[in-house]
């Protein structure tokens, strides 16, 4: 990895400059991660007085636990739903905004600010809108003949959390799609128009393929978001319910470890989550490297 | 002001790459020396070693009476003008000029006096409150000069300072730098790849190639007696023609008999190839005119020697005597021949 052609001399100074970051990293990142790894191989007795080494038994149990497998599939549905919904809406909005010249900035301003809303707040907002007795949407749905109740229906609950999580993420995806669209040379679109492609054809044959790097990048980022940053959405609304229907992995780690005090299992879950994050990060960086090489 | 002395300077990079392979050079007090050579010849590295921006692997560097090998750039009492000017974009012109003085703990009014003085000399007084980005290329160049000037250093170092300017401005700044140096009489080391710039600016030239000195001398010495084939073709434009001695002898030119025996190549400057036969004894060479290039005050005739693939250039005033494709006969006097040995690359006399 490069430095500058010329650097400052100094034997201790660089270490002193790195020290704050490295100390925080070691104490609050590396050490706890090591602890999680270690804990995942132990099992504590009921009173937390002694622990025994059980090897990979915690993992074996976990992968045989229907509740954990349920959580895995719930997380998958939630991540795919959130990603698809927020990226779809964002792409549509970005493509339309990109057609405009004068009002582009106005629309952009109106569309980007939900990025600032905390997931937990987004959750509370949609919880309120979907509130079975006083919410507006259930009222409308009832007129259409659907009785909404996210307290009892697992489908309704899943839709609620997906809406809340996706809504907040539209702004992010929108900005990246817009930047991606603006980097497509106008001459390509004009060339396609001269070649006789209509607007729809132009989009699917020129614009969409050229957006593929952005789309792929956003897919990874959105999956990471849905898996790890949405704890607040779940905790502030359904708390994993009803009947485990929205108990995504990060919520389950918290609930099992912090509320249920099952340390071995929670640590094993942490380790599995770390492996997922590492895999996603590697995918993301592989991809960035490739993009740089273009 | 000070004498600058380089003794056996070497620079070796990691992986045993030798950028500078032993340079000895003595720059007299107040002298303007230009380091010239093609890119990659080590001239910039050498300058940066003098500045203290590159470490010295071997050898000794003396400024004035001090050995400065291990001193920080700031302690060497040098000032440098960078190729891209390296002005601090967030500071005003005034602050750019003052920064080095402030760091050295000068008093406020002394800084003020020096900055005003330098600005007056360079005619940039009106730009003092502006930021670099509000200036044109030429104005930035002056600010960069000013930053060196205010320091009143022992030695000025210039790293291709004119290469980012357009042709017209470059000529103008060249003249100004020369005048300024004459006036201040500060020892100066100037790097360029432009042989014309080198010729016009330097009291002495140092032609570098492959990390070594090819030749040191005044511009006219180097032009008149290039020490090697490299120098011969690098200095002067269009470049010197090189013609094998064997080719000329074949054509029965007895004039060449007194050349040293190891001479197998002669160099002839384009202006020494005459279309009109001179009075003195001379060689006659036949060629085909391939292209005629009129450049205003002078013209260039690109020819190919008869019975050979050898291309050559003739510089002349006025029009071409023959049409393109026709035979052209030209003449060279004995004194215009620069004898070389192609194996060693050196001049033979």
């Amino acid at each position: 990895m490069q430095t500058k052609r010329m650097t400052f001399p100094g034997r201790w100074l660089p270490y002193a400059l790195l020290a704050p970051q490295v100390i925080v990293t070691l104490i609050f990142f590396i050490w706890p991660a090591g602890q999680a790894l270690y804990q995942s191989l132990l099992r504590e007795d009921a009173f937390g007085l002694s622990s025994t080494f059980v090897g990979l038994d915690n993992f074996r149990r976990l992968l045989g636990d229907p509740l954990y497998l349920n959580s895995l599939s719930v997380t998958t549905v939630f991540a795919v739903g959130t990603t698809a919904l927020s990226m779809g809406v964002a792409l549509l909005l970005a493509v339309t905004v990109n057609r405009l010249l004068r009002s582009r900035n106005l629309y952009t301003t109106l569309l980007v600010w939900p990025y600032a809303i905390a997931p937990a707040i987004a959750g509370v907002l949609w919880w309120f809108i979907f509130h079975p007795t006083i919410g507006i949407l259930p009222y409308v749905l009832e007129m259409l003949g659907y009785r909404w109740n996210h307290r009892t229906s697992s489908v309704d609950a899943m839709i609620l959390v997906i809406f809340a999580a996706a809504w907040k993420q539209i702004a992010y995806n929108f900005l990246f799609f817009l930047a991606g669209l603006q980097s497509i040379p106008q001459s390509l679109i004009e060339a396609a128009a001269i070649d006789g492609a209509g607007p729809v054809k132009r989009f699917w044959s020129i614009v969409f393929p050229l957006l593929a790097p952005t789309t792929f990048f956003l897919m990874v980022v959105n999956v990471v978001y849905a898996m790890f940053d949405t704890f607040g959405v779940i905790h502030a609304t359904t708390q994993g319910g009803p009947a485990q229907a929205t108990n995504i992995l990060v919520y389950k780690v918290y609930a099992d470890g912090f509320v249920g005090m099952n340390l071995g299992s929670s640590a094993a879950q942490s380790v599995i989550l770390m492996i997922i994050v590492i895999a996603l990060t590697v995918v993301q960086f592989r991809f960035i490297e490739r993009r740089v090489n273009y | 002001m000070a004498r600058l002395k380089l003794e056996g300077l070497k620079k070796t990079y990691a992986g045993d790459v030798q950028a500078v392979k032993g340079i000895d050079l003595d720059v007299a007090d107040g002298e303007f020396v230009v380091l010239v050579g093609p890119s990659g010849c080590g001239k910039s590295t050498l300058l940066r070693m003098v500045a203290g921006l590159e470490s010295i692997t071997e050898g000794e560097l003396t400024i004035g009476e001090r050995k400065v090998n291990d001193l920080e750039p700031a302690q060497r009492d040098i000032a440098m003008v960078f190729q891209n000017y390296a002005l601090y974009p967030h500071m005003t012109v005034y602050d750019n000029l003052a920064y080095g003085l402030k760091n050295r703990g000068f008093k406020r009014d002394e800084i003020e006096r020096r900055v005003r003085e330098a600005a007056r000399m360079l005619e940039i007084e009106e730009f003092l409150p502006r930021k670099p980005r509000q200036l044109s290329g030429g104005q930035r160049q002056r600010v960069a000069m000013g930053r060196a000037l205010v320091r009143e250093p022992e030695v000025f170092l210039f790293d291709e300072p004119l290469s980012n300017l357009d042709a017209k401005l470059r000529v103008q700044m060249r003249v100004e730098i020369k005048q300024l140096q004459r006036r201040l009489k500060t020892t100066s080391l100037y790097v360029t790849h432009d042989q014309l710039e080198a010729m016009t600016l330097g009291d002495r030239l140092v032609v570098l190639n492959g990390g070594r000195i090819e030749q040191v001398g005044t511009p006219m010495e180097i032009y008149a007696r290039p020490a090697s084939i490299f120098v011969a073709t690098f200095i002067g434009s269009p470049a010197m023609n090189l013609i094998p001695v064997a080719y000329l002898k074949e054509r029965g030119n007895g004039l060449l008999d007194d050349l040293p025996p190891d001479t197998d190549l002669v160099g002839i400057r384009p202006d020494d190839l005459r279309i009109q036969p001179p009075d003195a004894p001379h060689l006659v060479v036949e060629s085909t005119l391939e292209l005629f290039e009129a450049a205003g005050a002078e013209s260039h005739l690109y020819v190919r020697l008869a019975g050979s693939d050898q291309p050559s250039v003739i510089r002349t005033a006025g029009q071409s005597p023959v049409a393109e494709g026709e035979t052209l006969r030209f003449h060279v006097v004995r004194e215009a021949l620069h004898p070389f040995n192609s194996a060693s690359g050196k001049r033979t006399v």
Binding site: K4, L18, I129, F258 | -
Partner: protein, 281 residues
Amino acid sequence: MVEHRPLGNALTHLILILGVALVLFPVYVAIVASTQGPGEFLRGTLPLLPGGHALDNYRLMWESGLSRSSAPPAGQMLWNSLIMALAITIGKLTISLLSAFAIVYFRFPFRLFFFWLIFITLMLPVEVRIIPTFRVVADLGMLNSFAGLSIPLIASATATFLFRQFFMTVPEEMLEAARVDGAGPFKFFKDILLPLSITNIAALFVIMFIYGWNQYLWPLLITTDPDYYTIVMGIQSMTADEGNTPWHLVMAAVVMAALPPVLVILCMQRLFVKGLTETEK
């Protein structure tokens, strides 16, 4: 621009207006709800037009909060959020600037090792190591403190990388000129590098302030003393009493919780977009 038909333009605006409406709708509902009196919700559905109790609701929440929940007044929680967000932001910026400076402008043994060590933090979000991290903070006696709220979150691989990236684009000659001008590492950092980085710092400030303000899980874990509750996590405790939630007051708190970061984005939109798109590359 390739041809634009009037019909197409109308459709464009229609789609966008629908999109904006979708995005704005939840917040509109929240604002309307926060202006209602306590009785409005008993009648069933929420009215769609603002009521007249805005001032009362906001003042009540600001000054005394919800008496039935354990949350302190919103004013205090907002203050806590501000301190936490600023501490996280300034902490992240400071230590990232210093590390990037060390990595780019010095050569020293184990440089690459430290670079990777910082990089690894990207792969260990707090959500995946909740319990051991909580333990560390508890062992250090940092529960219920602003230090505990902020310090464990200030390591930042993204900011370090961004600054590293930016420092690499600063022309080499800038450092060389500064050294000829007699500037050592500290002077160079303070006089040249920091002023040159100011846009990047501002852009990251926006992103990190929002990150800090919106922390939820972390304050939830390490604060049990309401004096340290932040607004984003405090709201959750107000809705805990199912069926009996005073929604008009909760929504007033929601609006207050969302307002600061939203204002930051709206006022610094250009910096925000820059910070967002550049940190992710």
